[in-house]
Symmetry: C2
Subunit: 379 residues, 2 copies
């Protein structure tokens, strides 16, 4: 190779058993983790020269607090390669089968953001799509509930669009059920949004839920695109993380990607897995999500304000060549408190309101009230 | 619809806050979960008739122990549909963002195993592939470590095949690294195994690791198949759960599928996610894994003997039209204790030995010793 490539450095937090929380044990654990995630054979079962080029290297090992330790393991670029599967495998593959191990920091070599690609639109691109050039938050809602016909969902789209919301995304429970089959729903909802935009002069976007199956994926994205949609909702863990990356890289489609956290909570809640800011703020951005949906603090799901701020910082901060992604904060938001959340999270945020709009009944008026609250907050 | 379709019934365990562990609160929580996983709008924001056909119905609610409760929620066939993404979404999608919620039982309607398909080969089909018609356990190893050239890995394959092992699977760390690129590795390893089979009269199978990327998936499976391999290793959570289902359904390929648990531990360890027997024993079987690899008790990963027995029971027991899958138990197994594990797990088991073979150095002899130990145990 013509130039030495940088390793990927991953910092893990892990708990030692009480009574065995010595530095010697912490170093031994870090070494075992480094071997587990690379050669996965016992000491002595690999050539000595692998030590430099193949085996993960435990670098900094330090106590966090009590039985909790932190170790940084460096994996060579040659080991990690550029395929998403192996990147994830190295980060947390076999360690997932331990308990109490968490990826708390990743130092990405410049090659990885470049090869994975990141968001196609990013914050600026999504603003343009929505005709929101000025620096203000965007407003989003979910088209739901499942059980309604395509015509009924389309009518809801119409009301939200006339009310001036920026993005209407399918609820993640809308797949291909008989009540509102995928193709019919996309056609009707998109037509309703376009008609409303013509009436109002607005630029509301409708992002349908792309669920697979893989056999029909190509056909479905063509359907979405040919009917004029400019973005989709995906659930990365169930649709496939690599499928999302593939979708974001399809330059011929030019579809913006909203990632939904369904199923992902198991990876970023608790003391085993990833921190929320690494999973939501870095991994989902790297694979191409222009917007990352996750629950706001104070709603139905347990998440702290500090965690939300950290996730947002990662979504928007430097990450190699990757464009910044929009945090899409769902739940726990009412129009009357919008100013508070904008002060807290800033203008480069999408606010996703569902329940608080639906509870008002008149969806157009509820949307208008929200848009007015946003305008008021920007004065 | 001409006939009423059966619902899917999911039993969850969840903890209530200490001091609030009343039956009233448990029923309220179960109702909130049922709404979260279906309509996801507040009470009163859906038509009353949805109650019967769309909204999840909390049925049995009972205390397990202390603050721990159990509730069975019934979701209509119309809500769940037949797409994998929505099935997973209903099982655990938004609940993943709670904490301390676990799927402990699923009652599958007959339609779902039928539409997902399950294993193509199953236990009997894999036996035939390996020329192991008689009822005995199969022996498997991992081709590794990463860092070796394709030629070196192929030589290991040759030794293992001459030694008489049934299945050689790539280590899950073998992706497309420069040391042993995918296409070259598959070609060399498969050729080495075929040559060894000709010399020995054996039927050893080599299952390479299929990692994506999605753009190259079709090309890679064609390469694998055209070089004579009859199975692949996949990592469902990173390759894509739906991609695995798609692969297993490709009748033109006829590739057996071994599922690797990398990354999956976060879903089945601990008190949030799925029990191991539901995730490993049912979900992976439903999507088409003929063999499900997971860590045996007593090895490097924490898992109890009882859990292993429960996983195996689910892999082999009734599941609609699905064929039974092989448990592929890795780690913690040495030749001298093989008889013990066979007594415990039975003949319909694949034993995956890695470290204990590699530590012996002479891979052919280590394999022969293992095969002899198996023969001895069958007398």
């Amino acid at each position: 190779m013509s130039k030495p490539e940088e390793p990927i450095r991953v910092t893990y937090e892990f708990a030692l058993e009480a009574g065995a929380e010595s530095e010697t044990n912490a170093r031994r654990t870090a070494r075992a983790m480094a071997i587990e995630q690379s050669v996965e054979v016992p000491e002595g079962c690999f050539p000595e020269e692998f030590e430099r080029s193949v085996v993960g290297q435990a670098e900094d090992v330090e106590r966090v607090d009590g039985v909790l330790w932190r170790a940084t393991i460096s994996y060579s670029a040659a080991l990690v390669g550029e395929e998403l599967g192996q990147i994830l495998n190295v980060l947390f593959g076999n360690l997932s089968m331990m308990s109490g191990v968490r990826v708390v920091e990743v130092e990405w070599p410049a090659t990885l953001p470049a090869s994975l690609g990141g968001p196609r639109f990013g914050i600026e691109g999504l603003r343009e799509l929505c005709g929101a050039g000025e620096r203000r938050p965007l407003l989003c809602t979910s088209v739901k509930p499942v059980g309604h016909s395509s015509a009924e969902l389309a009518e809801r789209c119409r009301q939200f669009a006339l009310g001036g919301l920026d993005i209407l995304k399918d609820d993640h429970s809308l797949a291909n059920q008989a009540w509102a089959p995928f193709a019919e729903r996309v056609e009707r909802c998109q037509a309703a949004v376009e008609q409303a935009n013509r009436e109002s002069g607005g630029s509301t976007q409708y992002f349908p839920h792309l669920t697979g199956p893989l056999e029909e994926l190509g056909e479905r994205v063509e359907w979405i695109r040919s009917h004029g949609c400019r973005g989709v909702l995906v659930t990365p863990l169930t649709l496939g993380l690599d499928t999302v990356r593939w979708l974001a890289r399809r330059s011929d489609l030019g579809l913006a990607v909203f990632g939904h956290p369904s199923f992902a909570g198991a990876l970023y809640q608790g003391d085993h897995g990833f921190t929320a800011e690494i999973w939501l703020g870095q991994i989902l951005r790297l694979i191409g999500c222009d917007g990352v949906i996750y629950p706001n603090t104070g709603g139905r799901f347990p998440i702290s304000e500090e965690t939300c701020l950290r996730v947002n910082e990662r979504l928007r901060g430097p990450l190699g060549v990757c464009k910044p992604s929009f945090p899409v904060m769902g739940g726990g938001i009412h129009a009357e408190r919008l100013g508070h959340w904008i002060d807290l999270y800033g203008a480069d945020t999408i606010f996703l309101l569902g329940s608080s709009l639906y509870a008002q009944g008149d969806l157009r008026r509820a949307s208008e009230t929200l848009v007015a609250a946003l305008a008021q907050s920007q004065l």
